[in-house]
């Protein structure tokens, strides 16, 4: 993420913190889709992801003034989303079951589409890897967060994040090569 984008997010956080009319609508407009994608990658269901997102907005509206560094708006929102989604997962499944979650809604987009270039294949491949790897890769691909920021969001060390990104990418590569040579879903 370039410095101009970071400044825009920082400015948005400051507008929300100052209580400017319309700032929260802008926040939702900018962050809704990426947070929904992230929540869906954790919960495995679009409808659960929407419930998570609803809670995220409630927490965000109430807590954004306590955000000390407005520049950390995006990592903060992902941290909030992570906490809510993990709580829901714990309530619904055991962690082991969550690892096996396949997002049923995502299966619709599973068929490789070469017309849409790599993104559709990456999206489908993300569906096939474990939760820990999927989570960090979504943050990496979607927001280009730094290792430090991702570590803070998921609550582990930077080394663990680096390792998960590395092995996640290797798994993705294997899956994508399988797709390329027509061996993936056989």
């Amino acid at each position: 993420m370039d410095s101009e984008s970071r400044t825009q997010y920082e400015w948005l956080a400051l507008r929300c913190q100052s209580g400017e009319a319309g700032a929260f609508e802008d926040l939702i407009g900018v962050m809704e889709r990426p947070l929904l994608y992230y929540a869906a990658s954790l919960t495995g269901s679009m409808d659960s992801a929407l419930d998570v997102l609803q809670e995220v907005w409630i927490k965000a509206f109430g807590g954004i003034r306590k955000l000390k560094d407005p520049g950390s708006l995006r990592p903060w929102l992902y941290t909030v989303t992570h906490g809510i989604a993990v709580d829901r997962i714990r309530k619904s499944y055991s962690r082991e079951q969550a690892e096996k979650v396949q997002y049923e809604d995502f299966q619709e987009a599973e068929e490789p589409s070469f017309a849409e270039e790599d993104a559709a294949q990456v999206h489908a491949a993300l569906n096939q890897i474990g939760l820990h790897h999927r989570e960090v890769l979504v943050l990496h691909f979607l927001e280009d967060l730094s290792l430090k920021e991702i570590a803070k969001v998921v609550g582990c060390s930077e080394g663990t994040v680096k390792s998960r990104i590395h092995y996640g990418k290797r798994q993705m590569k294997q899956i994508l090569e399988g797709v390329k040579y027509g061996t993936a879903n056989e």
Binding site: M1, D2, G19, A21, F24, E25, I28, R33, P34, L36, Y37, A40, M46, D47, A49, L50, L53, Q54, W57, I58, F61, D105, F106, E108, A109, E116, E117, D118, A119, A120, V122, H123, A124, V138, F141, L142, E143, D144
Partner: protein
């Protein structure tokens, strides 16, 4: 590189399927926004009222 990341990001977001209960979500989010906007307005009104009722500053205290 940044452009490549941006394209991938947009592609992934475009691949996100439309949730079934999006109408209920939109409704709840709009209600939440309205409630929050009302709270902010009320906060400003009370803050302004409070400031207006404060006694005027006597100016510098203990000036040279």
């Amino acid at each position: 590189m940044a452009q490549q990341t941006s394209n991938l990001r947009e592609g992934l977001l475009a691949a996100l399927p439309q949730p079934e209960n999006v109408a209920a979500y939109r409704e709840q989010t709009a209600a939440l926004l309205a409630k929050h906007a009302k709270a902010l307005r009320w906060e400003k009104i009370t803050a302004n009222t409070f400031v207006e009722r404060l006694p005027r500053s006597p100016g510098r205290i203990g000036g040279a």
